[in-house]
Amino acid sequence: MRVPIRAGASSALGAAPAALAAPPMMPPDLSQLSPELLGVLMPMFLWVDACGRVQAAGPTLRKVCGRALRPGVLLFDLIEITRPQRMTCMADLRAHGLRRLHLALRARPRTGLRGIALPLGPDSGPEPEGGMLLNLSFGLTVAEAVRDHALTDADFAPTDLTVEMLYLIEAKSAVMGELHGMNLRLERAHRSAVAEALTDPLTGLANRRALELALEAAVQAGGRSEAVPPFALAHLDLDFFKQVNDTHGHAAGDAVLIEVARILKAETRKHDLVARVGGDEFVLVLRMMNEPAAIEALGRRIVARLEAPVQLGDVAATISGSLGVVLSVDYLDPAPKRMLADADRALYTSKHQGRARVTILRPDLPPLDLLRPVAAG
């Protein structure tokens, strides 16, 4: 079968470039272009007559449409034009001119297409006799289209870059997979580095750096105008720990420290912070605590538990602890450095008074007076 297709839209295509126009030569005889040959150039062409009935289609489009592409089927029954909207007849298509169309097959999976429609035959009058020639390609969903319709390399024109694009899509996915794996590795490394930087390796408690960060956060939590949420700062120093180390060795000392950490964790709440800030020194940040009585009770409980002998193989080690406590509510400006220094002073009072004690340092005057300058002389 050889169906002549006369492209009558030379005016619409514009004049040929000068370099091609000279020397004068015969325009190519397009009547030699059979649908078969046309299908080699454009495997997804669609030729419809003036009424919009399909006359011929390229091999790839036939494969994609399957049974829906019967000879004589109406273009608009086969394909929906999605952009521009409201194109429902051949006159709309002619009026659209030589601009890009977005289309979709009506049959599932409603494969998306792009295309252009070329008017055929003698120049269009009010009632054009010629049909139209459409050339289609896959849109952005090309990878899905290739999968859904089991297309192969041979389904694309030799000049078509679709296969290169599929290659790039897969290469990009492989590279993204590598990047994703790398991100996960970096994230894990980052998290463990942060945890290591903020943790005391022996006890698993927070270290001094973590304590500083937590105190900064605690005093800033109230914001500029609001009051800082109240918290208590307790400084704990073990008593008789040096004797354990000297008598039973450092391994025994480490075992005692681990046991102390366990007790402190057990006696505090989840949102409190327990930090080991020196050999046998600990700091507790007790959030939402401003009742001296409750704090004193907690302190006594901790001391009592610390005094229970720790069994180390055949021997038992006995220690105790002294605490010094300050309350954020006693400060107009609860600066961490100042509070730590005051808690340290309170601790020394406990030590001085015979150890195994809890001292809560309270100002003698109401907080307002802390601001008042001390009169000289």
């Binding site: 999968r147 089991a150 297309l151 490394a189």
Partner: protein
């Protein structure tokens, strides 16, 4: 050297010989056990150091390791698919190698693979010339055995029977082509390949 190259060497050693072997190679080469990141550029000499360390540790010639690396690369499905894009038959695939460096550069502009040029000779013989392109000296030295391993593995994938000969290491560039004898294009049933990704793999 692109980290992807170093990382593929690392993954090959780890997956083939186990993490302990990789750990020993990393120690011998003086790098951390985590090894390489895929998207970094490393000094070229580091690749050769790791290869030499692995060759010593496994008591194998480095060329043999590189050939096994080529086979390993084809065993990775995403890479096998990329290579199968080259064509429907093994001869098509060989011809598509001319585009390999260009395609790789589209995806990864700084991968710097050597340019490949295939010359078809009568009687189903092919000569694959390496050279030119952006590849550095080390890449140019390492590439031929890796390619030979890949070509063998791809022949299995296509079901083709081939004979592949590497050039002598001291060969002049002109004589330094990989010789491929395509004895039988359809010797065995090859593995299946569809241009479209199966759904399970398309949606990670």
């Amino acid at each position: 050297m692109h980290g992807l190259v170093n990382r593929s060497l690392q993954c090959f050693l780890r997956d083939t010989y186990g993490p302990d072997l990789w750990g020993a190679v990393a120690r011998r080469a003086g790098i951390g056990p985590d090894g390489f990141e895929a998207m970094q550029i490393y000094d070229d000499t580091l690749t050769e150091t790791v290869l030499a360390a692995a060759a010593q540790q496994l008591a194998k010639p480095p060329e043999a390791l590189l050939e096994d690396l080529g086979t390993y690369l084809v065993s990775l499905e995403p890479l096998r698919r990329l290579l199968r894009f080259g064509g429907v038959g093994y001869a098509d695939f060989l011809h598509s190698l001319d585009d390999l460096q260009g395609r790789a550069q589209l995806a990864l502009p700084d991968l710097d693979l050597p340019a490949l040029h295939l010359v078809a000779e009568p009687g189903g013989r092919f000569a694959l010339h390496l050279g030119g392109g952006p590849a550095g000296e080390v890449m140019a030295r390492l590439a031929p055995p890796v390619l030979a391993g890949m070509l063998r593995a791809m022949a299995d994938d296509y079901g083709a029977l081939v004979l592949i000969e590497l050039p002598e290491p001291q060969a002049t560039p002109a004589a330094g082509a990989i010789q491929i004898d395509l004895l039988q294009a359809r010797y065995a049933k090859g593995r299946r390949f569809h241009l479209g990704l199966p759904i399970a793999e398309a949606t990670p």
